[in-house]
């Protein structure tokens, strides 16, 4: 049991280190100095308060999209529609943020809630179709991504504005940003990180502490036994997708109410949702794991922007990130090597 827990910790750490190592080898092969490259990466992520702030800005939606994927995974479902749920959440939050005039204590929670509801509704569709007709959730949720992307674009152009390519700024009363944080870091840092951490706590609490979470986990492991035990398998599938979509919607709100304060027309996906799959995977589908993995992803993505200053092309960082995911996905190999070493050590 104990060695299991140790492995669960060791495997992601070794994966990350191997990813960095292979990234270094690739930098060397192409004639760049990996040390200056990684130093630039580090500085780009944490070098001063501005960079640290931007890193956290990047991390915030990753945490929530990671939670969305992880939550569905834990209940035996693959929500690949997080991307679309982020879009509708973003739009809903901006819509409430621009259209209404309310005191902050109502306006801000309402905007976040709207995002959660929109994401939840978007999640409801694949969940309902799966429960009712057995349609595979992956296919439906992928298609829902495209519907979300183009619906949001159409609404921004035709409903929220008059053919403009972005919405108005949201009202101050719906904003997550704070003058204090802005002055401190000069970055776009906002209070969203607190909401993301609260989300992680919420996921942990729901799954591990509540009777509903017990049902969701049970359905995820064994639908037959859950049905035998009197649980409603279908309604649990739908509920799981709604909650998952809700997390994703709030990830969108982080963009709309925090980072950007508006929503622009998108020509393609933001990848927040798709990266959430990797975040959840790296974090072992747990709440705390998703938080840590999101920090790693955010750090790499933001730090990468600084790597060209050391002469290393930005694309290399994408290669390093890809290598890390590769090693996590092939965690079995690392486990096998660890097992082997342990056996021979005896």
């Amino acid at each position: 049991m104990e060695s299991n827990r140790l492995y669960n910790l060791l495997v992601p750490i070794i994966s990350v280190l191997l990813g960095l190592l292979f990234g270094a080898i690739i930098m060397l092969l192409f004639g760049y100095n990996p040390i200056t490259g990684y130093v630039a990466l580090w500085n780009g992520a944490f070098g001063d308060l501005y960079f640290a702030g931007e890193t956290i800005v990047k991390v915030t939606p990753y945490i929530l999209s990671g939670l969305a994927v992880a939550f569905a995974f834990r209940t035996g479902l693959f929500n690949i529609g997080v991307e679309g749920q982020v879009f509708v959440g973003w739009l809903a939050s901006v819509w409430v943020g621009t259209a209404l005039q309310l005191p902050m204590i109502i306006h801000l929670p309402l905007a976040i809630l709207a995002a959660a509801v929109a994401g939840g509704l978007w999640g409801f569709v694949p969940g309902f179709l799966k429960a009712k007709f057995g349609v595979h959730e992956v296919i439906v949720s992928i298609m829902m991504n495209y519907i979300a992307l183009y619906t949001c674009n159409a609404i921004i152009r035709n409903v929220l504005t008059d053919s403009a390519d972005k919405t108005d700024r949201i009202a101050e009363t719906a904003s997550l940003s704070s003058p204090w944080l802005t002055e401190l870091t000069f970055s776009r840092l906002h209070y969203g990180i607190l909401i993301a951490l609260l989300g992680a706590f919420l996921m942990w609490f729901i799954l591990e502490k509540t009777t509903k979470g017990y049902e969701l986990r049970s359905v995820g492991f064994n639908q037959h036994a859950s049905q035998y035990a009197g649980m409603n398998v279908k309604s649990n599938i739908v509920l799981s997708f709604i909650i998952s979509g809700g997390f994703a919607g709030v990830a969108g709100a982080m963009q709309g109410l925090g980072t950007f304060q508006f929503m622009s027309v998108h020509s393609g996906f933001t990848n927040i949702g798709f990266d959430g799959i990797a975040v959840a995977l790296l974090g072992g589908n747990t709440a705390i794991g998703s938080v840590l993995a999101a920090f790693l992803f955010g750090t790499l993505k933001v730090g990468a922007l600084n790597m060209p200053s050391a002469g290393v092309p930005e694309e290399l960082v994408d290669i390093v990130v890809a290598l890390i995911i590769f090693f996590v996905a092939s965690g079995y190999i690392i486990r096998w090597v660890l097992n082997r070493m342990q056996k021979e050590g005896k």
């Binding site: 509540t210 509903k212 979470g213 017990y214 492991f221 064994n222 036994a225 035998y228 035990a229 009197g230």
Partner: protein, 507 residues
Amino acid sequence: MDYVIEMLNIRKEFPGIVANNNVNLQVKPGEIHALLGENGAGKSTLMNVLFGLYQPEQGEIKVKGETVNITNPNVANELGIGMVHQHFMLVDTFTVTENIILGMEPTKKGTVNVAKAEKEVKEISERYGLKVDPSAKIQDISVGMQQRVEILKTLYRGADILIFDEPTAVLTPQEISELMDIMGTLVKEGKSIILITHKLKEIMEVCDRCTVIRKGEGIGTVNVADTSTNELASLMVGREVSFETEKRPAEPKDDVLTIQNLQVKDARQINMVKGLNLQVRAGEIVGIAGVDGNGQSELIEAIAGLRNVESGSITLNGKEITNLSPRKVTESGVAHIPQDRHKYGLVLDFPIGENMVLQTYYQQPYSKKGVLRYKEIYKKAKSLIEEFDVRTPNEYTLARSLSGGNQQKAIIGRELDRSPDLLIAAQPTRGLDVGAIEFIHQRLIEARDSGKAVLLLSFELDEIMNVSDRIAVMFDGQVVANVLPHETTEQELGLLMAGSKRKVGEQ
């Protein structure tokens, strides 16, 4: 050379548990040697040590008189040790020959020489009377035939010591007797066989000698000719085992379960239960006898609320429970030991403790206002584990890592703890050893004596005859006869199960 295999003073430890201690196994050339023990006694561990999957902490292994160090299965193969696994390791879409040569394909100019291999496989197959078609695909042949392919695989690799891991668990009675013949042929041709089993009848039938392991300890070796099933059973379990279940006569009271004119369809929308009538009274065990596939599973699923009832009625203590949800059925006082404990009975990836509240987690004291109270859950789990003698390191162990018998004890504990009015026990002893079977039968009878109605479904006639107070024979979706165990014979039951009518005046 006195022995082909000698395992002396073997000790194997796993973290927190001694799986084998002081175990001796000596196999003579040309004999069928049984390795007997309860589920979880350490038989498989010992064989995995011999096969090189585990290294022993202590002890010596000799093959054909020479001390050897078997560090991995390849070494075992080279020493002529072959294993016929309980779960077959075959590629379904490959032919018999392709499966047999997998990993050591004979080649001709870089391509696999299937013709040559096929000829060799055919030769071996004929020599040992296996009658396997080398060019048939695995997916097209029966389970019994697939097992023979596994045997062929070891023979093709030159094994002369064959380990059979509970080979009869997956076979029909007909296939079992054929396998016994094959084992006879194998030893006649000079092979030696180790048969891992907990079925005493098989040992008495084909084995020469028998080594017994109990809770990891080597108990000793006996000549099968000088022993009896009773002695073997008590050696294995460590106490006297009664095959005849002792019980007082039933004192049935009011009707608990009443089924009238029930019609149920299966998943393919075919009528499986066709106008069935059945009563089970408080304080009696009604056994359902019948050949598998005559509507028994559908009947039980219908009572438990897992399958829709087309027409007819099911009442419990006079209250209608037809087509209620499984939860409502459970809450109205039905407990159910499901046929397939892995699929329905347990969430294998939950700790055994959390499995103990699978139907009650939403009730006090296990949760309050929707929040689980793990302290109460595990307190209950701990007391049930003790009361029902579930052998597990602790209540936090995953259900998956318990042996079948202990999983079943956990399920029975959980179901009886709700003090139901009706207990449905569907094949409650399938795959279990005699010790666990005896335990479970006693618990069923205790439940009856405490005034519960028990509905027992079993395909083992022994079990039906021993445990039931009344037998309902099911054939083609109906109860075709109600008989009393002491007034009938297995022969008569067999005829009734096959659909022949009872002669008038016989009752």
